[in-house]
Symmetry: none
Subunit: 225 residues, 4 copies
DNA sequence: AGCTAATCGAGACGGTACGTCCCGTCTTGAA
DNA sequence: TTCAAGACGGGACGTACCGTCTCGATTAGCT
């Protein structure tokens, strides 16, 4: 016998997860919302806050056990499980709690609107505070296809829509070519940021990147004469 | 879309990971490689194969316990741990076992070489069989920064170098503009594929995508008159 | 109402219990006893000892959680559950570990043999050390009919057999009447001790009790003239 | 047989137990009995009935959780705890609700009175319906010394008194020897029933047992010549 | 009729223990 | 020294109860 014990990462066991993952603002109980003692909003807060605090303190996803979350939140385990069916669903709500809506495009010029959107991605994705948080949380969510799809359809999709509307406007006013699938065009702008963040994520995304990307994509890589 | 999509991983608990992750081609024992019973190559194979089989059968990363891997491979747990220090290191080798070298560019035209590279990414990343495999494995590797950096420096870097050399050739022959950072240009080509694979990874990447991407990026999104 | 209060039973959640409750000397694993690491006899001992120590320290049956037993024994919970299917089965083995074989009757006279047996009961049942121990443990075992039956059939029955053999001998030599069921006669001797212990168990059973009981039962309550 | 059989109880976790275990006939509220909504007698009934019903349905004491009792009685948990401080106190009241007073001895002959008392024990303790009930309930009560003492002093003592008075009468009229402690004599009659019920409780106590016991104890086991 | 107050069913609260599973290490006999 | 098997101490999992608390809704006696 020994003392070494475990460690490691792992994850989720199931992939269920999304029963009631409708945001941190806890839904009403199943049967009759006005019967019985109401759920304590303080508990909701305490749990989410505990997760955020732990992550900021450098606790890895593997150490983020439900057991420990409940303990640090000063809450019974059952209180956590009453709100979320598992760690993954909780993480999803933690992720959502960090979401900032993408600012609506100013509408001055198509080029500037595109820069605004890409700049938002650059900053949101790597801003000091969110960075560590999201890296940990997103990892967990991504690891479960069902959750990731859920997140994608609620949050990511909405943001893409903003980008698409700008591109459509660009088409109407002749700023954007119409002979390509509009989804492909959207990926041309988003992809590079993603690439920088994903493939060499330990580097910071430099200022001015958004403009450089937008301009190059608009004008093309082949030199115009 | 948003920046969150761009973030990633972490975790690790241990961060050990790479002590001896020198591939499935089993290293020699510590003290004297010629003494005692040699490691069974059959065991190496059985383990890697078991992981691949399980993933193909839809086993999620969370259910991929070392315990189960050993059981499924008909192998003692110690036999697994003798080869890899943990699940992550094993996963890294599983990933490597799937690697195919990027074919060298034909060198006919810059545009065609670029298409070749992007087409390789499209197929490698999403080909029916590998897709599920990689998604599961990569998730785990990404979740541990040390491992991911290792993988990145070994495999990703090499591929990028091929792309960069093509771009440099393009600059020399005037096919590619020189007023932009060459790394940025590389991301313009790689990013869109990544975006498709990461942000809506459950969709298949259609044929012809590589050409469409390369051509649009080369020519630009703004219509040339 | 009545003395039946003296009866018992039930409980148990499962009532399973006895799969392998064949004494503390741990059985071999299910499949092949010679394969794999053998069970540690030290663990067997540590667990039983921990229970005994705790009980002697006045830990109540309600506080005797498997969790705590494992902790105090310096043993993993799984190690406990590998040996016993539940708390009850463990308790049964703890009980057995305390058993002392009833000394064989000297065979001098029937009356003295009877006194010897009853005296054994008086002492065993209430001896300082065992008393506290047994009270706690027996409670748990009695609370589960299946376990209690098991215990009865293995231990109690054997002791009764000794008593019965003495009575049979008494019949042969005319010391014991033959017009009554021999099992009834046995109860006439055992019952009074039981009654004292069960109905007013907080009192100590006084010395000389055995002789008084045996003599009175032999001679009868109605005065002989 | 052995002394272990004679041991008992303990446990308790709380040991509170008897604070207010004054029977199901619900006490008045603390402050002013006349103010506020009175306790519903229907709830009292529902709770006791639920326990009885469950026990008759074979629910073991371990499955008899307060939670389940309340649920099954269609009553809030607080309503149960308002009446009893814990499961044990409730059980004690359930026990009491089953009590039948021992019939006063006819007084015809000492021998017949003794048979009457023992017969009562035989039937009460093992009558098909009560048997299961009592076994379950008594187990729980016995497991807590404080409760058991309470029950003993209230109920058992009273019954013993009846037996003792008969024995005293027997002494006066020369039917019972006077050279033995009268408490011991009482145990000689009660013990055998107890022994049968406790040591092999799953068997039924046959008719005629009472007479057989009384006669044998009166006359003695040694044959009279 | 209105007020006060204790009740009701329901169910959430912080805890603790359950029994199962996995971690990474250790220990068998056999090869 | 390896192998398969499986036990080891440790710890998280998700469930069930504990006894308490808090809801809105009765249900009485008192003004």
């Amino acid at each position: 016998m020994n003392g070494t014990a475990a460690t490691e990462a792992t994850d989720a066991t199931d992939a269920t997860g999304t029963d009631r993952a409708d945001g941190a603002q806890a839904a009403a109980p199943a049967s009759d919302p006005r019967r019985g003692r109401p759920r304590s909003p303080a508990a909701d807060t305490a749990i989410i806050e505990a997760v955020l605090r732990m992550i900021e303190d450098g606790v890895s996803i593997g150490e983020l056990s439900m057991e420990r979350i409940a303990r640090e939140a000063g809450v019974g385990k059952a209180t956590v499980y009453r709100r979320w069916p598992g760690k993954s669903a909780l993480m999803l709500d933690v992720m959502r709690s960090l979401d900032t809506d993408i600012p609506p495009p100013a509408g001055v010029s198509v080029r500037d609107d595109l820069v605004g959107i890409i700049e938002f991605l650059r900053i949101r994705g790597l801003a000091k505070r969110n960075s560590a948080l999201l890296r940990t949380v997103v990892t967990h969510v991504k690891a479960q296809p069902a959750l990731w799809r859920e997140y994608h359809e609620t949050v990511v999709q909405a943001r893409r829509e903003v980008l698409l509307s700008v591109l459509r406007r660009g088409r109407e006013c002749g700023e954007v070519r119409t002979d390509r699938d509009i989804d492909l065009l959207a990926d041309l702008f988003v992809g590079p940021v993603l690439s920088r963040a994903v493939l060499h994520e330990w580097a910071d995304l430099p200022e001015g990147l958004a403009e450089e990307i937008v301009d190059t994509v608009l004008e093309g890589v082949r030199p115009r004469d």
